[in-house]
Symmetry: C2
């Protein structure tokens, strides 16, 4: 497996580069440049490119070829970047991956419109290939878009609420994060012309790995390595975000601890110097362990769906991908 | 024809009501309400519903039935409303059709997201019916979306430029307004399964009537009846907008007149009490007549495309629609 792992890593890297070439070329000669230059700026900001990779891997694992899936891969990455641009406006974020956010680099109007145009070009790429399962692909992409809007709305709503249940939180990340991963897997399997059963299994893989991925993100915020994670540790606490860790801790705490946690809500976040104190509280309440267990539980649920894949090599690829996602440090 | 006209008017009204019922129901039971209530608010703000009517009429005139086209009609109206919500943010507009704009009634985040979700549900409606010409319909809708983003970007760009040519202006309204009308006609004709030639003719009808419609809008701003127009006369001058009238006047003026017009650009608009003076200038330069001629020219170009329609009654319907659009006073 170790030899395979480095092969899989190389494959990921190689395909990531191909996707980025396509993303770079996609908007290059389009006009007006006042619209497409800002849109190209966000597409160049790097990242894991996990969503397009999911499309490619799902296509291949269910019997198709990478070459059939590049346009759809570009489409899902553009859709993802559309959400990033608009979310950054809503969160009033100054930076993303170390660079200015679009509305800070340009202005509000430019950012709104660049986001809109990324979505428009995403659909353009999605419908470039007239596949056999065109309708199913369109359905899935559109459903993913609907869900991501709903998830973001719930997320903004939760910021204003004093009480959010873990159940609501899971519903929200299901829509905001997991729906996108599910969509990528469904699209890939449809491109390959997979059976209904296989598509369903791949969808469940995507949904579960998406949830695991988001809880992992919440966990990394407090336990990650500062340099590798790319942002300072404890940012969610400072912003008063209702993460998995916070909600689990709040559910579990009582007395003084509960009061301390309540402060995160009422004062809309804590000071930076208080982070270690709260990290210790999380640790004492056992919620870091809870998060790790949940991540494993959802990953295993995801992996259990891979039984419908025919080739061991494809299973191995997805095992490696899943493993590297939940062992990542950024 | 007079008898027919009142029949056509009644038909428009009847179908407009049906579309509005569908628009009202579309978001009613959807969650989260924090997303869909604001989206429903803008859908209820009235208007001519011209775009969905174009879809219905184009479907019928090319051999289809209204009943085949309602979902697509809802889709184009939602797409239109998505552009209104985002444009209002970019224009910092307080009111639309006498009601608060979405970002004023709620807030910026809600408005951005409500706009996004209108677009997402628009695609949902568009792909509800799996027509024979599904791919062509998706292509046209997506192309319309791309163009409307490009047109809005050009419009915002023009605000910052000291010189805009009439040619550039026509390119901009071609994308921002006419592309949408063209798209509606193409979708309608595809729903009906019309021939390539008929689809092309309907597209040209839509494109030309869209240009005529926009120049008419520019003309109404200065010559319209205050009460019927719904906003005060001369608003474009006060805002320093580079309309057809302004650009034509600027092209034609010299000496003192040119200097006066230049003020509209350099001072980014005039005072309200100055409107009559500038209206007189427009009148002296003959640009009100120019606009009327252009509107007629584009309408006639549009009408000339109707020769491909088979039934006289369908032609009459489009003649009536075209006529009522260019004779409208709001």
């Amino acid at each position: 497996m170790i030899g395979d792992n480095s092969k899989f890593r190389a494959l990921y890297q190689r395909e990531k580069i191909k996707i980025e070439e396509r993303l770079n070329n996609a908007l290059m000669y389009r006009e007006p440049v006042s619209l497409y230059n800002p849109a190209a700026y966000i597409l160049k900001s790097g990242g894991k490119r996990l969503r397009p990779i999911l499309v490619l891997f799902a296509t291949k694992a269910t019997g198709g070829k990478f070459s059939q899936a590049y346009n759809a891969a570009v489409a899902v990455e553009m859709l993802h970047n559309f959400t990033l641009v608009h979310d950054d406006i809503m969160d009033n974020a100054d930076k993303r991956r170390g660079r200015l956010t679009l509305h800070k680099k340009y202005d509000l109007s430019t950012a709104i419109l660049a986001g809109d145009s990324l979505l428009s070009v995403a659909y353009e790429y999605l419908i470039k290939d007239s596949e056999d399962h065109f309708k199913e692909i369109l359905d899935s992409f559109t459903h993913g878009l609907v869900e991501v809007c709903e998830g973001q709305s719930m997320d903004k709503e939760f910021e204003l609420l004093n009480e959010v249940s873990l159940e609501d939180y899971l519903l929200m990340i299901g829509k905001k994060t997991a729906a996108m991963a599910e969509m990528c897997c469904i699209i890939g399997a449809n491109i390959a012309g997979a059976s209904k059963q296989t598509i369903k299994a791949m969808a469940a893989y995507g949904r579960n790995i998406g949830i695991a991925f988001q809880i992992q993100d919440d966990l990394l915020d407090i336990s990650g390595n500062e340099t590798q994670f790319g942002k300072f540790v404890g940012g969610d606490l400072v912003e008063g975000k209702k993460t998995y860790l916070f909600l689990k801790a709040f559910e579990r705490a009582s007395g003084k601890d509960k009061k301390k946690l309540l402060r995160i809500i009422t004062e809309k976040g804590i000071k930076r110097f208080e982070i270690p104190k709260f990290k210790e509280l999380y640790s004492n309440l056992g919620v870091l362990e809870d998060a790790k267990e949940e991540i494993l539980r959802y990953s295993n649920k995801a992996l259990s769906e891979l039984k419908y894949l025919n080739k061991e090599k494809d299973k191995d690829l997805f095992y490696w991908l899943t493993d590297s996602l939940i062992k990542r440090n950024r």
